[in-house]
């Protein structure tokens, strides 16, 4: 709760920094602020006095806290990654926007009312539109921002329509009430309520970029500045999944029969489309975009398993953490590599194993993790999903997932092969700034540690 306030406060501070001339200390200030927010999260852990609040507009229960913890941690890493991204004019605006986006993300972990859901999504999205387009001279960036904007607002149209229908059926925006209403009504709900649920499903699937609502993602990811892409594929995704999970596990879990099959088909579609399309990508950045779609599909599987109790939530939490850390690593490497000769194509990685063994090593670990090879975090993430799903009637999805993830291995390993097997254009080594080295070391260790001792995350909710 306090974390939310601290971050919004930081945002406003950032805005004022330009006027009151403390640009210089802004960066450390933000880092400290995030750590402070993190600390608050810790303190609120397990003391349930402060939920629900504001007549149950948001509730920071442990799940919410855990997810905000993930988001804040990743945000911290992201700021380290992005430090030199802010080294140009109106840095303050960027800070402000990112922080406001963070506020939205935190709201999505903790919302407990359709209003806060909607506002959260918009607060998260609108700054992202701007940030995607933040390279004003760069046509790709423009296009990315523009596409994101149009598609995003179009999707929120459906989101709202769904909310409206659900409101119409249940007469409330409060998730708890909706939930109790569903359980009382047991089955005698009007048809258009289900229509509303499905529209919400569609809107959320758009946000997490699942096929066939994924088309925006690759273009936007590719067009945006790399660091922003990193932001999208980590924080935005995690937040969106927190929201998705909250809606469809906690609230609509009882009516799962109305949406599970649809979701299953969406997952299957996402798996196939994303992995197969990624196989022939030349730009690593774009490849990562597609891979993020397939990971989304995996996380959706955990939701599909719709496990009462905490298993699904655990799985999603673990998965989003593993995935975010993994992609932060890979994006950091990508960022540094592409800084060398300015393109994100796979050729840029040729001979990296010689040019900068450290970067190459970290990239290998992150690729292994994303591909789901033991003992990296990515493996456990997939493993939990499988264990959840094998108990359900959707076993065929596992088989599909395995087949497609074999394809996944193909494109992840293309990078590794390029690094160790293809000769580099120019042999000379290049240096990486210390902050990034630290970041990479941290995330890499984290990735492996998560894989070796997953219990601290997986048993977090007891």
């Amino acid at each position: 709760m306090k974390g939310l306030f601290i971050i919004s406060g930081l945002g406003i501070l950032a805005m004022l920094a330009e006027i009151f001339k403390f640009k210089k200390i802004l960066y450390p200030l933000v880092l400290v602020g995030i750590l402070a927010a993190y600390a608050c999260n810790f303190m609120e852990w397990n003391n349930n006095l402060n939920i629900p609040m504001f007549n149950n507009m948001i509730r920071f229960d442990n799940v919410a806290l855990a997810f905000s913890g993930v988001i804040l941690a990743v945000a911290f890493f992201w700021f380290i990654l992005a430090n030199d991204y802010f080294e140009h004019d109106h840095i303050t605006d960027h800070f402000a926007l990112v922080l406001f986006a963070l506020v939205g993300a935190l709201m999505l972990t903790s919302f407990s009312n359709m209003t806060t859901l909607f506002l959260g999504i918009e607060i998260l999205s609108i700054p992202m539109y701007v940030l995607a387009a933040s390279r004003k001279r760069d046509l790709a960036s423009n296009e990315a921002g523009f596409k994101y904007l149009i598609m995003g607002s179009f999707a929120s149209g459906f989101l709202l329509f769904g909310i409206a229908l659900i409101y119409g059926a249940t007469g409330s925006f409060d998730l708890m009430e909706i939930r109790s209403y569903i359980s009382q009504a047991n089955g005698s709900l009007p048809t258009f309520f289900y229509a509303g649920v499905l529209m919400l499903l569609v809107a959320m699937c758009f946000k997490v970029s699942a096929a066939p609502f994924h088309f925006w993602a690759p273009d936007v990811y590719e067009g945006s500045p790399t660091v922003i892409t990193a932001l999208m594929s980590t924080i935005v995704k995690t937040a969106a999944f927190a929201a998705f999970m909250h809606l469809f596990l906690v609230v609509f879990g009882k009516v799962s029969e109305s949406w599970s099959m649809v979701l299953a088909i969406i997952i299957a579609l996402s798996l196939v489309v994303s992995n197969i399309t990624a196989a022939s990508q030349q730009s690593v950045k774009r490849m990562l975009a597609y891979s993020s779609i397939s990971h989304a599909a995996f996380m959706l599987m955990a939701i599909l398993a719709n496990n009462r109790g905490f298993a699904s939530i655990n799985a999603i939490l673990y998965y989003s953490l593993a995935y975010s850390i993994g992609s932060i690593t890979s994006f950091t490497v990508l960022y540094n590599v592409s800084k060398q000769d300015g393109n994100t194509s796979i050729e840029a990685f040729n001979g990296l194993g010689k040019r900068n063994p450290f970067l190459a090593g970290c990239m290998v670990v992150s690729m292994l993790s994303l591909a789901g090879i033991p003992v990296t975090a990515g493996f456990f993430a997939k493993y939990f999903v499988f264990t959840l799903l094998i108990g359900t009637s959707f076993k065929w999805l596992i088989v599909l997932a395995i087949l497609t993830s074999a394809v996944g291995v193909y494109y992840y390993f293309k990078v590794i092969i390029a690094m160790y097997f293809k000769p580099a254009k120019e042999e000379q080594k290049f240096v990486v700034e210390t902050s990034h080295i630290l970041l990479l070391a941290l995330t890499t260790v984290f990735t492996i540690a998560l894989g070796i001792v997953p219990k601290y995350i997986i048993e977090i909710f007891g």
Binding site: G353, L368, I373, P374, V375, F379, Y383, F386, T387, I390, G391, I398, V399, I402, L403, S405, A406, V409, Y410, F413, I416, I417, Y420, F421, K422, P454, K455, I458, E459
Partner: protein, 487 residues
């Protein structure tokens, strides 16, 4: 505790080696692997002294809520394979002394890391742990092949990796499926092998068949069994010699070992229904691979195919699921491990001394170096399973076991006795005998390390052919255990 040490030592060793440079790393690696070998001998003594020794069991919880334990233990079977591993790794390292690899520290580090994973696979008593080690073994060999491999290694190693990974993922599904059926009585799901056995036996035929094929796929690819083998020859040929040795000498045994410990006891019903198909594939693979070996020109590729043939027989014997078959499988694993390493070393020596592995370009080396010819001959006899060589015991028991499954199957499988002689003698003749070819002119006397390794291997071949009892008793004991679980 001791068994824990068995796994830790190579891990530490690999880390240490990573931080060395140049010659130091290979010497260090050799030393440490020897230490590991001695350690395994200590384990052997402990086991002989008291099989139930608490030193030979280690079981600490890993992820309590998921019933995952870090449970490793030494029983007769695993002991044998651990010994094989720890015996071969020093030889493999020693055999590399005449080739200079760049980044030697990572090269030897990876080998030792792989040793850790292999020992883990052989000792794991927890399904999940088994899978983890299984995959861990894959990564170092992949990089060994990718970084130090031959031409076109990018594509080939990738094929190898995806192939095996796909298989093991299916195995994971099968295991998870079992895991999901554990603990109906206790209510606590568990990965412990005993519980998996129990769960497997409780399943009905169709469920067992699902599990059977899922798991069999992984092992079949690893060994490899006939239609799943195409990754193997390319990989063997392209990998650096030490990589090939690791792959064929030890890693291949993961599959056969898995069949014994992780498939037979789990799905008895499915074995009855589908065992025939599996055996059919393996047995066909024997003849198929042998025939292909006959027309090979590249000696390394020839060995690769011969290895498929041998493994086919091993698999058939194991799948026939009787005492002789399984025990023969175990014995043959050990024999094949030693022999194939010897053969690949010989291929490497040929390459180094003559610059070619094409058997048509080679010839008359015997007249240059009779000593080498004799050693070569002994290794060769071992792999054609001549009596009083280590290969024979296993092969006899295997054919015996298969015969008990079906006389005609055994007769067909027995063709390996003939075809094996055909391609082995043919290659030996055109490499060593006849008038000396130009390629052989440079063929001087062997380097001391090569000689040493070959001598050790030949001694092992003859010694365990004449007096296999020590190994054989262990194999018998281990097999009896499995047979009990099959009941």
């Amino acid at each position: 505790m001791l068994v824990g040490l068995l796994i830790i030592v190579p891990l530490i060793a690999s880390l240490l080696v990573f931080f060395t440079k140049g010659k130091a790393s290979r010497n260090l690696a050799l030393g440490l692997s020897v230490v590991e070998f001695i350690l395994s001998l200590v384990v052997l003594l402990q086991y002989k002294h008291n099989p139930g020794n608490s030193n030979l069991m280690l079981n600490c919880t890993w992820v309590e809520s998921l019933g995952i334990h870090f449970a490793v233990g030494i029983d007769a079977l695993s002991l044998l394979l651990v010994l094989l591993t720890t015996f071969l790794i020093p030889l493999i390292i020693l055999s590399s002394f005449n080739t200079t690899y760049d980044k030697p520290n990572s090269f030897y580090g990876l080998i030792l890391f792989m040793q850790m994973a292999l020992i883990g696979v052989f000792t794991a008593n927890d399904g999940f742990l088994f899978y983890i080690f299984w995959e861990l073994a894959l990564i170092p060999i992949y990089f060994i092949c990718l970084v130090w491999g031959g031409e076109d290694r990018g594509r080939i190693t990738f094929k190898f990796f995806v192939y095996t990974l796909l298989g093991s993922l299916f195995m994971l599904v099968g295991l998870i499926y079992l895991y999901n059926h554990t603990g109906f009585d206790t209510g606590m799901k568990s990965w412990a092998i005993a519980d998996l056995y129990q769960a497997g036996k409780a399943l009905n035929l169709s469920q067992q068949s699902f599990v059977f094929w899922c798991i069999f796929l992984a092992f079949g690819i690893k060994m490899p069994i006939f239609p799943l083998h195409t990754w193997q020859p390319d990989t063997y040929v392209n990998a650096p010699t030490q990589g090939t040795m690791l792959l064929s000498g030890i890693m291949l045994k993961m599959g056969t070992f898995g069949l014994i410990k992780w498939l037979l006891p789990i799905a008895p019903l499915a074995l009855e229904k589908w065992g025939g198909v599996a055996i059919g594939l393996s047995v066909f693979g024997i003849v198929y691979a042998s025939c292909i070996a006959i027309v090979q020109k590249d000696y390394k590729r020839l060995i690769a195919y011969s290895s498929i043939a041998h493994v086919g027989l091993i698999a058939a014997g194991i799948l026939s699921a009787n005492q002789q078959g399984i025990q023969g499988g175990v014995m043959q694993m050990l024999a094949h491990g030693v022999n194939v390493v010897g053969l690949f070393l010989i291929a490497d020596i040929l390459m180094r001394h003559t610059g070619t592995r094409n058997i048509d370009k080679l010839g008359g080396i015997r007249s240059m170096n009779g000593n080498f010819a004799v050693l070569f001959l002994i290794v060769l006899l071992g792999s054609v399973a001549l009596p009083l060589t280590n290969g024979f015991v296993g092969e006899f028991l295997l054919i015996n076991g298969v015969y008990q499954y079906g006389a005609w199957v055994a007769a067909f499988a027995g063709l390996t006795v003939i075809l094996g002689a055909v391609y082995m003698l043919r290659s030996y003749q055109s490499i060593m005998l006849g008038e000396r070819r130009d390629s052989a002119i440079a063929f001087g006397s062997l380097v001391s390390t090569d000689k040493l390794v070959l001598y050790i291997i030949c001694i092992a071949i003859v010694a365990f052919g004449v007096y296999p009892k020590p190994l054989n008793d262990l194999a018998e004991e281990g097999t009896k255990l499995i047979m009990m679980n099959l009941k």
